[in-house]
Assembly symmetry: C2
Homo-oligomer: 377 residues x 2
């Protein structure tokens, strides 16, 4: 059966010694495939090929072992939810078990188109050839359409590249989706006419599944530059379907709302790199928003480094997803961020720019200068 192809998942297991780690690994091999005791597994193909195979077991961080377990590709081919299910379906419920990463062969990767645009596509679209892209957020929820559109105008005039809805903006009566999109796109275009730049508006389409494609297509028709959606709320395959849709062609930004437990759960859940990197590329997300280190969330510099690496490193022929750190992005931390992320990145800033005592225009001007953006770009 050497011709039967497999893919591999690395699990980090809380275990004090190798024997108990091996037991945990064996349990994963069964749980993620046949879900019966080994004594009941039918001999032949099922026992020899379908059951997960523990291929490596190594001590990792103190009190933990990393197990490499392989599964047959035909369990998951053609079906993204089922790929995720075999990676971490029932085993996600076991304490002390975390998915660190996956190794997918070309036969599986070939089914995933990945990001349509990624950072290079966004650069081309926005006419920004070098340096970090700059993403602003309009807020707070409760403002009316005019006030939000005015914020768009001022952010665009000041030199941001993309301006997105806060993720709490949905279709509330204060600023319903359709008039908000129309007004914000128009405001950005008015600013672009003055600056000569190609700033774009990014509405949040997270919301009832019944209206998702309709809102995406409305945004496209009305001239939005991209859309934002939260996969932990909407479903991972929902984003994959959207990113591969023939009738919707805009870039997609993903938002981490509701995703927290999947990564901050310590020994459970997923590594930052898998969840905000690999998974996003499989979904076809063009830019992934995640909490920056040092802000009001608890991500470490190495968590963010892991995200950057998995968002941009080799994954078959899938385009890179643009890392988009946000949250607590203060101007005096830009140098540290540049060291961490380099220039192939998009920075999300909202509250810090809105709250800058010198006014929004001066704050954006300093941001642009500090990240080394040319004045004509």
């Amino acid at each position: 059966m050497a011709h039967l192809e497999r893919f591999a998942v690395t699990y980090r297991m809380a275990a004090t010694d190798e024997a108990s780690a091996r037991d945990m690994g064996d349990a994963i091999c069964l749980e993620q495939t046949v879900e019966v005791p080994r004594t009941v597994v039918p001999a032949g193909l099922i026992a020899d090929h379908i059951v997960g195979q523990l291929q490596s077991l190594l001590p990792s961080t103190p009190g933990h072992f990393d197990a490499g377990i392989s599964y047959p590709v035909e369990l998951v081919q053609g079906d993204f939810p089922n790929l995720l299910n075999v990676i971490f379906g029932n085993s996600s419920i076991k304490p002390g078990l975390r998915v660190m990463g996956v190794d997918l062969p070309q036969s599986v990767l070939a089914e995933y188109a990945g990001p349509r645009y990624g950072l290079a596509g966004l650069r081309h679209m926005l006419g920004v050839s070098s340096g970090p892209l700059l993403l602003a957020a309009i807020k707070p929820v409760g403002l009316g359409v005019e006030a939000l559109a005015d914020l768009c105008y001022r952010f665009a005039l000041a030199g941001m590249d993309l301006i997105k809805d806060d993720h709490n903006l949905s279709n509330q009566a204060y600023a319903p989706f359709e008039p908000r999109v129309r007004a914000c796109v128009a405001a950005v275009e008015r600013a672009n006419a003055l600056t000569g730049r190609r700033c774009g508006f990014v509405p949040n389409i997270t919301g009832s599944q019944a209206h998702l494609l309709e809102r995406a297509q409305f945004a496209q028709r009305e001239g939005a530059a991209a859309v934002m959606c939260a996969p932990a709320l909407m479903g991972y395959d929902t984003l994959r379907q959207l990113s591969g849709s023939a009738s919707f062609l805009l870039p997609i930004l993903s938002h981490p709302a509701f995703a927290g437990a999947n990564v901050v759960a310590g020994e459970a859940g997923f590594s930052h790199g898998f969840y905000f990197g690999t998974l996003q590329r499989l979904m076809g997300v063009d830019a992934v928003i995640f909490p920056n280190t040092g802000g009001r969330f608890g991500f470490s510099a190495s968590d963010c480094q892991d995200i950057r690496a998995k968002a941009q490193g080799k994954l078959g022929s899938l385009r890179a997803t643009c890392p988009t750190p946000g949250g607590g992005m203060l101007l005096d931390r830009v140098a540290a961020m540049q060291a961490l992320y380099g220039t192939d990145v998009m920075y999300l800033m909202g509250g810090a720019l809105l709250g800058d005592g010198r006014g929004l225009s001066a704050a954006v001007g300093e941001l642009r200068a500090s990240v080394g953006r040319r004045s004509d770009d």
Copy 2:
């Protein structure tokens, strides 16, 4: 503004003293609504009404405080993903923060139809007037259609009420969805013709979003009793839309695959009762599968008690979701399970019945007797 209605969320916060707990609570009030520093919040409606309000702060378990925070209903009306987003969007990413429960006013609950059937509906459909319902699972993945259908036949003949696909069965070439559903429904019907009972087959429709409704409707057309779907993989609103669909009317069983981190994350994520109880009812799930205590997962008896209480306790006029504990349900533990769950429950057993040395029929017979099921019911 006394007329403006609010809903409330209880958060458990890891905090050593009341002052730091209050700071965490204040941060949640902002993060879940306006997402800007308090100094930037516009005065008037937004500051007075839209920003979350810390309404209670009490010490709970050692090292933790429980904060009751209220939000205006108009932020979430008409939109399930946005309700979840306001409950725990960005704050889900902060460490040491867990959603314990929600208190939704009638104006919000009225938007949720809840389970169409619940336990009472399942009892009626299956002709089982009293005692726990019994759910079997066919597995392992890798068996062909005939072998799986034969398992259905044997489980139905032995006296199980519902027989579901293992959640690892999707549309693999070993046993593709459509022929599997046809053969399993037919096998159960052959057994019913002999027993006079109304056992039913429950296919797993978890899989590509593009085919979800199509598979649901195929199952309905072919005579399946219900369908099973995993919301953590497919999206919470996806299940809500399905449970409210005019063209799909079967009961829905939810499966916990991929959900683990949301509940086993210790101080992060959601209480067992919220995630496997309240949330499932809002989705319209008729029966919720979750790991039983004492099995191979780590749920405690009080975790399971919490699920039972939230699945069945009062939630507006929404029907109860049937608690369906599974995993490690050994026959010698039935008495303890009866004490924990009572009789308004469905027991999921798979591996233990398949692995019973006396054969499947004897094992199911003992199960029926031990839970007090009458021989004619």
